[in-house]
């Protein structure tokens, strides 16, 4: 006799509004034990709201949540946890000041309603789950001192230390490298064998197809499609998420063979980080630099921009040698840089879009008397706002209120306003949804076509394929290989990265 698996969690017709805006409109979803269910959607599609409702952090306006066959009308975080729903948040929600062991076991201590805490029991509990999952974590170390990948493992262990029946993973792969993602997937499959229902939230389409059996797509708070993952392709998912066709072909104009050299880097070295880096960049060229995390790719970019200067080597910009010893030197040489963590390093969140745009170029708006030329500033701002198609009511809106893609555009605007001849971007589309990603890359291609030289440091292979003239692969601090033109395609890059 064959049994149809009963869903362990059912969300039925859930509606949630924030101040009149519909975040979720009658969304239903059900999770089955031993199945990986992917929830896909762009930023702002309602994924996070749905997670908050399932985990009891937010209450729905209407609709029902049934966990383990029992309807929960007043779901609190504690009740959700007790009934076996665990969430691994994108930011992991760990305590950096406590040890890994304590982070892992804290939940069960609380869930058991204990009053006293025992270090011995905590270590035993933590050690058990770590061994069970076949992991290696330094349990005695403060979580704040662990690497991002290890922190994620701690978060996974914490979620599983109780009897988790439903595990929700919110964008679990954002901060991970390819090898770490593979390891994560192995763990997810192991959980699946244990009968855990996994809800995997992501907007990386490859991953969605690779790991899940079932797929649900949200757009603007509405459930647009749901079905077995095998029925979908990258293209059809992207279309469902954005509501329009998204192309991932190579979208570049071929580079003019006579374009002059903009940047030449020779023998750039900083011991422990990278050795003898030679690279060149021509006018209008987009150069991709990729490599595993820790390969030195970000360090090279940071050295070119003077954040952590190189120890030796030459940097030649437009035929002229420059000594890059600080960010100021790099800016003077005409180099711009968009940092990796755009939210904490690139923007003032509680200041308007307008002020952010001109923040780094105020010097150039000085009048003869040392005052700011407000008319000229206003003109540049209006121009950038239009050119970059930033979606906001107006330029006085706070950056905090923007979505990831729009915030990224403000960062770009800030650097475009300085009119650098060379722009270096580190992970330009990390954490950005498909629609915005396309637009950001389109803007970069436009800028290149207008004569800027662009370097993209990225992990995202489709992005390198669609928008780079040349790709350098960095391995252990050295440039291991180079791909040019039509040799740049997904399989080749993956192969060389793994080598």
């Amino acid at each position: 006799m064959k049994m149809v698996a009963q869903p362990v969690l059912e969300v039925h017709n859930v509606v949630k509004t924030y101040g009149g805006v519909h975040a979720l409109k009658k969304v239903s979803i059900s999770l089955i034990p031993g199945e990986v269910h992917c929830l896909a959607g762009e930023n702002g599609s309602g994924k996070s709201t749905l997670i908050k409702i399932i985990s009891g952090v937010e209450k729905p306006d209407s609709g029902t949540i049934t966990i383990g066959g029992k309807e929960r009308s007043q779901l609190t975080p504690n009740e959700a946890i007790r009934s076996g729903v665990q969430v691994i948040y994108q930011d992991f929600s760990l305590f950096p000041n406590l040890t890994a062991a304590e982070n892992i076991a804290m939940l069960s201590e609380l869930a058991d309603g204990r009053k006293l805490s025992s270090r011995k029991r905590i270590y035993a509990d933590a050690d058990q789950i770590v061994t069970e999952l076949g992991l290696k974590i330094d349990l005695g170390a403060d979580v704040g001192s662990l690497s991002v990948a290890d922190r994620q493992l701690v978060a996974i262990c914490r979620a599983l230390v109780g009897e988790a029946k439903v595990l929700i993973m919110d964008e679990p792969t954002t901060a991970l490298t390819h090898t770490e993602i593979d390891r994560l997937f192995t763990i997810v499959r192991r959980l699946q064998e244990r009968g855990v229902a996994v809800m995997f939230v992501s907007h990386k389409l490859d991953e969605v197809l690779q790991i899940s059996q079932h797929l649900t797509i949200l757009r603007n708070g509405e459930l647009v499609e749901t079905g077995p993952s095998s029925d979908y392709t990258r293209r059809s998912i992207a279309k469902a998420m954005t509501g329009r066709e998204v192309s991932e072909d190579r979208l570049l104009e071929p580079l003019d063979a006579n374009a002059p050299l903009l940047l030449e880097v020779k023998n750039l070295t900083r011991s422990g980080d990278f050795t003898n880096i030679d690279l060149s960049l021509r006018r209008g060229e987009i150069l991709g630099i990729t490599g595993l995390l820790g390969s030195g790719r970000s360090e090279i970019a940071e050295a070119i921009f003077g954040i952590r200067p190189a120890e030796s080597g030459e940097v030649i910009v437009a035929g002229q040698a420059h000594k890059i010893g600080s960010i100021r030197d790099a800016v003077k040489a005409g180099i711009g840089y968009v940092p990796e963590d755009r939210l904490t390093q690139g923007l003032f969140l509680d200041i308007s879009i307008a002020d952010n745009m001109v923040a780094s170029s105020l010097d150039s708006y000085r009048t003869r008397f040392g005052l700011l030329d407000r008319v000229r500033i206003r003109k540049s701002i209006a121009d950038l706002f239009k050119r970059l198609r930033i979606q906001a009511p107006n330029v006085t809106a706070f950056v905090r209120s923007l979505s990831g893609g729009n915030a990224q555009r403000v960062v770009l605007a800030k650097w475009l306003d300085r009119q650098p001849s060379i722009l270096v971007l580190n992970g330009p589309t990390v954490g950005v949804d498909i629609g915005s990603k396309e637009e950001i890359l389109a803007i970069l291609r436009e800028q290149a076509a207008a004569g800027m030289g662009i370097i993209i440091i990225s992990d995202d292979i489709p992005e390198l394929v669609s928008s780079c003239h040349r790709v350098l692969i960095v391995h252990e601090g050295r440039i291991a290989s180079e791909l040019v033109g039509d040799d740049i395609h997904t399989d080749e890059i993956s192969k060389r990265l793994a080598a």
Partner: protein
Amino acid sequence: MKTALGRLRGANNEGLLVAVIVVVVVAMSIASPAFLTPGTFFALVRSSMVPLVFALGVMLIMISGGIDVSFPAIAIFAAYTTMRWSIDGNLDLGLVLVFVIAMVVGGLLGLFNGVVIARFRLPTLIVTLGTQTIYKGILLTYIGSLYISAGELPKSVTKLSDAHLWDVPGGGYLHSMVIPVVLVTVLIAWMLRWTVFGRSIYAIGGDEEAARRVGIRVVRTQVWLYTLVGALAAFGGMVFVILGKNANPQSIVGTELDIIAAVVLGGASIFGGRGSVVGTVLGVVLVQLINNNLVLVGIPSTWQRAAVGMLLLLGVTAQALGHVRSRKRPVIVKKEVEA
């Protein structure tokens, strides 16, 4: 992995603090022969008792990610009110009841802090600055503004004021209030280390949102914490009254800086999530050492406040530097062997 040196330094720079204290003691002994006597030592113990009780409260709040400046007002409010009531009612309630009443009063004032801070999620510094003035105003307006001298205080209280645990041969004495103070200190250390409530305080200080997500009842924990710290301040206030053998409604308020400086020097993080009882004890000892003995080594007393201010800045700077250091990414690339 911890190096031997790292272990010696302690999780919150406790080892470093011990070294500083030793250096200060040695320097003062060289500068003044009057320093290294049992009398100085026991005076240091005596003068550290009240600040230590206050510092423990400040430390608890700091671990949870806040800062409390209302504790001196709560301390004197609770202690003075209890004394006033016993005198006006012409009762000698006995020591236990006196302490209980004072701590209930202190607990209620702390509860008010906690409710305002936790429910409305307001910045702790501003709230406690406000309540400090409110509590002091209520005390002076409605309870009394007159100095209560030793003669007026209940007999049970003054009797305790004169109770020496041990008269040291060669001058100096150990006051018997040292027993309850040590007990309270040990109790708080135990609570922080071995109770889920204690660990929750660290968790909230580490990341409040994460705490909420794992199911810690943040509001409830904070309200209890502020109530506890209010009661602790009241306890400190009573010890202060007993040691001073008088109750002056104008006293205590204004000593916040010394206490906060001691706690920060003791390694409690102004960013929340870190702090230890051992560190706090050491911090208090260091501040009292400087406060008591600068004159002894020939530095004018007018410099005392500046010295404490400098200590505070030193402590905060050390922390901020450590904070930056710990956030730096580790270099992952393996070093290549030069051919």
